[in-house]
Each structure stands twice: as C-alpha cells, then as structure tokens.
C-alpha cells in the first residue's frame, strides 16, 4: 500500500505529467463544431441529450393523456401508445441519462476535476459525440419511416419485437437496433477517454483517494458501461440477424395468425439474459454518477466534508462490481429456472447494504453542517427523498416472492421512475445549477430556479408515489387501457387523471428551466471563478469559463483531498485542493 508521508514543505516541484499536445482550434468550425476540447464536446453532448430528452418528455405527456383520460384523445390508438412508451423509455434511459451523465458531465468535469488539460484522446472524444449524434438522428428517423418507430417496449423482447403484430416491425425496429449499435460504438470511444484520463492524466498529487466523488462515480460507471454495453450490442446484432437474415438466435418455432413462421429453436430467454446483463448495470451506470455528483453538491453546500469519504468510495466500487451479478432479478417471472430466484434475490438485497451506507453518509453530512439552501442543494435534498423512496420500493421487487404479484405492473413503473428517473434527473438539474456558472461565467436566475425546483420535485413525487398503489391493485404496465379491468375501482380513474395532470404541470415547468438556461447565458449575474466557494479543482481555473487546455501555463498541484470544508483553524470555511499545506491541522482520527 502506498502511504503518503506527512511532512509538509512549502514549495512543490512543478507537475511532472507529460505535457500533452493539444489539437488547437483554427477558426470557428473547429472551435465550436468539430471541437476536440472536452468542454465543448460536453456542451454538445448535453445540448443534444436535453433536446432528445424533450422529445421523450412530450411522449410521456401523450402516454399520460391516454392513461389519465382513456378514449378522449382518439388519435392515440394502441399501436401509437406502444410506440410512445417504447421511444419514451429508450430515449430517457440511454439517449438522455447515459449520454448526459457520461458524455456531458463526464467530459466537462473529469479533466477539470483531476487537473488534466483535456481528455487523453481528444480526436476519439470528438468522434464519440458525432457518432452519438448520428445515433440520435437514426433514432429520430424511425418516427418517419413507414410503420413508424418500434413499439416493442424499451426491452425489445423477442419474438414479439420483430413480428408483425408489433408496431414498427417494418423499419422501426431495425433503425432502433442500428441506433443502439451506433450509440454503443460512440460511447466506447468516449468511455475509453474517461477511463484512461482518470488513470493517466491526473495531475501531480491527485491520488485516487483525493479525487472528488463525482469523478469516482463517473469513473466506475464508465467502466461498468464499457463492460455492460457489449451485452446490448451482441443482443442487438443477433436480433438484427434474426430480423434481416432469418436466423433463429432468439426465435423459437412459432405460429402467427395460424401461419407457421420459418423460425425455430431459438431462445427468447437468451435475449432477456443478454438484455438484462446490460440493463441492470445500466441502472447503476445512471445512478453512480448521480451518487457522486450529489455527494459533492451536499458537501459543498452544507460546507462540510462528505461524511465517510472512504466508505463512499468503497461503496461505489462494491456496488459497481455487485451489479453485474443481479441481472436476473428482472426475470423472476420470465420462466427461467425458478431456482435462480434464490441466488438473485440474495445478491440483490445485499446491494441494498452499500447503497444504504451511501444514504446514511449523505444524511450525516447534513448533520452538524452549515446548510445553504441554494438551488443545487435543494435538488440534492430532493434527490435524497426520491432516491430513498425508490430504493426502498426496490426491496419489494428484489425480494423474489414479493415481486411475483408486482412485476410487470405499474408498481414497477413507479419504482423505476422514482429511483432512476426522478432521482437522477433531480441530480442533473442540481448539477446544472451548480456548474453552469463555470461553463458560462454566469449564475442561473434564483427565482426561476426555485419555481422550477418546487414544481418539479413535488410534482414528480405526486406523480409517482400514488402510482405504486395502482400497481399494487394489479394494473399491469404497458396497458393501453386499464380503466376497464374488472377489479379497478371507479376511484382509480380519478387517480389516473390526477397523475396525468401533475405530469403536464411538471412538464411545463421545464420550460422555465430551459428559458433560464438561455436567458442567463447573456443576462445572468456575473459568477466569478468560484461562486460556491468550493474546494475542487474545477473551481480553481485561471479563467472562467476555462480556456482550451484548462490551466494556463502550469498544471495545478494537488495538496489535499476535495473536502476540506470548515477545517478548524483555517481562515476560510474551505481550502482549495491546490492550496499548499501551510495550515496543518490535527483532525480527529
């Protein structure tokens, strides 16, 4: 084990990281469009992800129009409904959340937070974005091909996904699979960058245990994504073979409307294993960056070091590793060997322990803190509420027998929206309010932020908390029509209408957010270089917004961890990571 000696000296030698040659931009195109600067790429990723996310949001309205007011909006037929939920789900999970956390926040924050000039492979990084954009364009194109986008559900289960009673089986499903394949290829290029930058380009003094948890979260999530996405890749390619070349990887002998299909012998369950081998880690690919970011938001705005930093790091690593052996908890009632249920229920509930530790440590960071109710902090606190709620409902679904009545019902929909929809989105908002001043040099407007916050947080809770109970009654998910189920009480129709109205309100509140983003770009209050008085390196850049190469002539040198807030005896309530150890303090062991 590498131990770090204590002695403090005044002057540290300059960084001995090899200086990288930056591909400098010449002219407008290579500065803003085909840029190889991770910060520009980050903004491109984020803007694209938010734009396609807006499409998914509109789709969620359409879904809710049907569920809340069945039969009223006659242009939504069953076929369209399934197309809407499929595209909504896939866009939200892959093209919004994954792209935004890793491509957006990863690109912006990793080099700045570890004190690098840029990502290590800037060209591949640029390519990564353009392939992602292409993937998004292919996805959007599927709305315009004959038959429309696929309506197979975001899980794309065969055999149904490529058969004729599923909408979009002509072109939609092919475009969806191609788009996913592109996304994965593009992501891999980006992911190599994020990983190797963390491994290789940390500045002098930036040991792993001095990295902010944001970097840890994104780092581990990226590694998981690199290893998990191939499963989706393989599944997508095999399904394309089945669809286009007539192989039977996933296609058993089956009959469609009395007609024997030429398929035979394939295994639908095999697809499910591959899909969830990607799909479960995917949940944590979205969650871990959110964990990391929220830790830093809470710590900064409560002016207190993150409580139990080491436990937080270990928990991220352990959760990342364990999440590769729980995938089949999505398949308890899939018809796989039921005895697997024992194993997967146990591993799933074990993950609850490190996850709970993270929650405790966030809460204990607030304890005896100095809490500032800034917009990022509000969102971080709301994250705690929704994440705890969603995490606990996960214990229902992980515990195999409890899952039996609940799986494939609206309870599941409510659960995963709370835990991987609302909670990470709240973190994304908090993070945008937190880092926007660094990206643009200006603050976002506070009043608009508070309005946006309260409507989004309370609205989202009111949408998804009651939804659990609709599922508990037994309403299946992906139901075009559930008000006519025999046991559904009249009152459930009212509840569905209420949920829908809340969904419209929450959706519209996002307009305020977008307006704030655009308006403040020019008119926001000047932010200065470190408006939150934060310790981590990205706030210590010589310029705000940071220039190409981030650090001026010399790389920063790191002397301490990222959480020296309210250190006893220090003049200020924060000590930047690159401040030499002139004040020595004896911390309680």
């Amino acid at each position: 084990m590498v131990d770090i000696p204590h002695e403090a000296s005044e002057s540290a030698p300059p960084a001995e990281i090899e200086e990288m040659e930056l591909p400098h931009a010449h002219g407008w195109w290579s500065t803003y469009v085909f840029s190889q600067d991770a910060k520009v790429i980050a903004v491109q990723y984020a803007a694209t992800a938010l734009a396609i996310g807006a499409v998914a949001l509109v789709l969620s309205w359409l879904i809710r129009m049907q569920l809340g007011f069945p039969g009223v909006f006659t242009f939504i037929d069953a076929e369209r409904y399934y197309q809407f939920i499929t595209m909504h789900g896939m866009i939200m999970v892959v093209y919004l959340l994954t792209a935004l956390f890793l491509g957006g926040f990863g690109n912006y924050l990793i080099p700045l937070m570890v004190g690098a000039r840029d990502m290590v492979f800037p060209y591949a990084n640029m390519l990564s974005y353009w392939i992602y954009l292409l993937a998004v364009i292919v996805l959007v194109a599927s709305f315009f091909v004959p038959g429309g986008p696929t309506g197979a559900g975001w899980t794309l289960y065969p055999p149904q996904a490529i058969l004729s009673n599923t909408p979009g089986q002509q072109g939609g499903i092919v475009l969806m699979l191609v788009s996913l394949i592109l996304f994965i290829a593009g992501f891999t290029m980006g992911g190599l960058n994020y990983t190797v930058t963390v491994l290789q380009a940390r500045t002098r003094g930036m040991t792993l245990m001095r990295m902010p948890l944001t970097v840890w979260g994104i780092f581990v999530a990226t590694i998981m994504a690199l290893l998990a996405f191939p499963a989706l890749f393989v599944a997508a390619v095999m399904m394309l073979f089945d669809k286009l070349l007539g192989t039977s990887f996933f296609m058993p002998t089956l009959v469609e409307f009395g007609e024997q299909m030429s398929y035979g012998g394939g295994s639908p369950i095999l697809f499910q294993h591959l899909f969830w081998f990607f799909g479960h880690p995917e949940v944590y690919i979205v969650a871990l960056p959110a964990f990391g970011i929220v830790s830093d938001l809470i710590s900064t705005h409560a002016r207190r070091n993150i409580f139990g930093y080491r436990m937080m790091v270990w928990a991220i690593v352990i959760i990342g590793a364990l999440s590769f052996i729980v995938w089949a908890h999505h398949m308890y009632v899939s018809g796989m060997n039921p005895y697997f249920g024992f194993f997967f229920a146990t591993t799933t509930l074990i993950i609850a322990v490190p996850t709970a530790i993270k929650v405790y440590n966030w809460v204990l960071t607030l304890w005896r803190g100095d809490i500032h109710f800034t917009p990022p902090m509000l969102f971080a606190l709301a994250f705690i509420v929704t994440f705890v709620n969603g995490g606990l409902s996960g214990l229902f679904l992980g515990n195999v027998v409890v899952d039996v009545p609940l799986s494939d019902t609206m309870f599941v929909v409510a659960h995963f929206h709370m835990v991987m929809g609302v909670a990470p989105i709240l973190v994304i908002f908090g993070a945008i309010y937190h880092w926007y001043p660094k990206v643009t040099g200006r603050m976002l407007d506070d009043t608009m932020a508070k309005f946006h916050f309260w409507v989004t947080f309370l609205g989202a809770y009111l949408i998804f908390f009651p939804m659990h109970y609709i599922g508990l009654m037994g309403a299946p998910r992906r139901y075009f029509e559930s008000s006519d189920i025999m046991f559904m009480p009249e009152s459930a129709i009212g509840l569905n209408a209420f949920i829908s109205i809340m969904a419209f309100i929450v959706g519209f509140a996002q307009i305020v957010f977008v307006f704030n983003l655009l308006w403040s770009w020019k008119h926001g209050k000047d932010a200065g270089s470190n408006p939150w008085r934060a310790t981590s390196l990205e706030w210590q850049t010589p310029q705000t917004p940071p220039g190409h190469g981030n650090w001026g002539k010399e790389l920063p040198v790191v002397y301490r961890w990222a959480y020296d807030y309210s250190v006893p005896g220090a003049a200020e309530d924060f000590i930047p990571q690159n401040q030499p150890a002139t004040v020595t303090h004896e911390a309680p062991a």
Partner: protein, 263 residues
C-alpha cells in the same frame, strides 16, 4: 426551514395516503397469503426507514440551516457509527429476505396432489387444456399448430385424445384444490396473471413454464396478460371462476375432448 416542513409533510402525507386511500391489493383468493404477509412486512420495514431518514433530514435542515457565524463541524468519518448503521441495515435486509426465500421455496415446489391445467396463450386469446380421464396431458408442439389444431396438440399421442380443450372460453377451477398451471405460448411472450391469486408467470413459445395455486374463494376473477405481446396486449383478458367441486364436475362433463374436436 420551509423545506424541513415540506419534508415532514411528505412523510405524513405518504403515510396518510398509504393508510387512508382505498387503493390496495385486490381481495386475496388463493393460498398465497404469505406473499401478502411478506409484502406487508416489507411495507412496515421500508416505511419506518423512509420516515426515519426523511424526518432526520428535516431535523438537520431545521437545526443546521445556515445562520450568521455558524460553522460546520469538522468530522471526516465515524467508523463506529457507520459500523452500527451497516449492521442495522443488514438486520433489516435479512428480516425481509429470510421469509421471502422461505415463501419462494414453497412457490417453486408444486405439491404432488396438484392437478394440471394447461394454459395456452396466443395473440390475443387464452385457451386451456385439461387432462382427460387418463389424468395426463398429451404431447403438444408449436410445429403442429394449424387452422384445425390451434393448440398444436399431437394427434399421434394417445394420451392427448381425451384431453379437454377449451378455446377462448372461461376456465373453472374447484375450490381448495391445488392446481399446477402449465403455461405455453403459440406465438410470442405472454404472462398469465390473476391478481387475486397473487401469482403470475411468463409463457414462452417453445417451452412450458409453470406455477401453482390453491384457490380459496369462490368467484370470478379476471385473467390479465402481463407481458407485452403486441398491439392487443391490454385486451388479452379472460376469466377464471372458482366454484365448488360439484359445480366443477358438472362443468367438466360438458367439455369437448380433443378427439371430439378433430373429427
């Protein structure tokens, strides 16, 4: 301050919603009361944890809100506290998992005396097959499915000749007798789900899946398909009626056998 109050309201409101709202499990009609019990236990444990965490946050927000001259307490970690919390969590998890696994062990273990009912799903219709006088179901295969044999029952297998075939009709079950549902699909994935029985299982073309229940309450229950199976998914309904043994026998006598149907 305001936020602290909102947090308290969230806890109180959620609890009130839980206890006062009319929305809950449909009344149980099978032996799987254990599942309900485990669920209720899980609600209790998770409800307590949720309230405790959120109320604690509310307290912190109120107590440690920023005021002039306040400084946060510097304390990087507290091994002892973290250790205790970890242990406590582990206990809670074990308290939920252990009963869960025991119930699962009974769920996957079909009692020997259970009678078999085959359920066949196809877009978007439920059909059933019951063993005839010989007590066994004949072989079946999707390759045999055609317009005159929509369930793919093997005409060669003598055991299949007396099987009772119910296509698209209603299924009856005798009360208090365990049934093993054998699930097949002709085309895509479906899922046989009767909320009042608390049980469900996917049906996969090319294989036979199963689960078992003992119906404990007479009445008519709706069968829902719980696995997306194409545009008609939400219309794929059926009914199962639990009746007394006499009524069941009477109904059974009126059903057609495979041999009847194929001549």
């Amino acid at each position: 301050m305001f936020f602290a109050i909102v947090m308290v309201l969230i806890v109180v409101g959620s609890a009130a919603f839980h206890f006062l709202s009319p929305w809950w499990f449909t009344p149980l009609a099978s032996n799987w009361g254990y599942i309900d019990d485990t669920t209720v236990l899980t609600f209790a444990i998770t409800g307590v944890v949720f309230s405790a965490v959120v109320l604690f946050v509310a307290y912190c927000l109120w107590r440690f809100r920023h005021r002039e001259g306040q400084k946060a307490h510097y304390e990087p970690e507290n091994k002892r506290l973290e250790g205790w919390l970890t242990a406590l969590t582990a206990v809670g998890v074990i308290a939920m998992l252990t009963p869960g696994l025991f119930v699962w062990a009974t769920f996957v273990d079909v009692p020997d005396e259970a009678s078999s009912v085959e359920v066949i799903g196809q877009q978007w219709l439920w059909s059933y097959r019951l063993p005839g006088a010989d007590g066994t179901l004949g072989a079946a295969d999707n390759r045999l499915v055609g317009f005159d044999n929509t369930l793919g029952i093997s005409p060669e297998d003598p055991a299949g000749q007396d099987d009772l075939v119910i296509e698209g009709g209603e299924l009856l079950l005798p009360i208090d007798r365990p049934v093993r549902f054998l699930l097949r699909s002709v085309d895509v994935l479906h899922d046989f789900y009767v909320p009042e029985f608390r049980a469900k299982m996917d049906m996969i073309p090319g294989s036979v899946t199963y689960f078992w229940v003992t119906p404990t309450k007479t009445g008519t229950y709706e069968i829902l398909c719980a696995e997306l199976c194409g545009t008609g998914h939400s219309y794929m309904r059926g009914t199962v009626t639990v009746v007394t043994q006499e009524e069941y026998d009477e109904w059974l006598a009126g059903q057609m056998t495979f041999a009847d149907l194929s001549t």
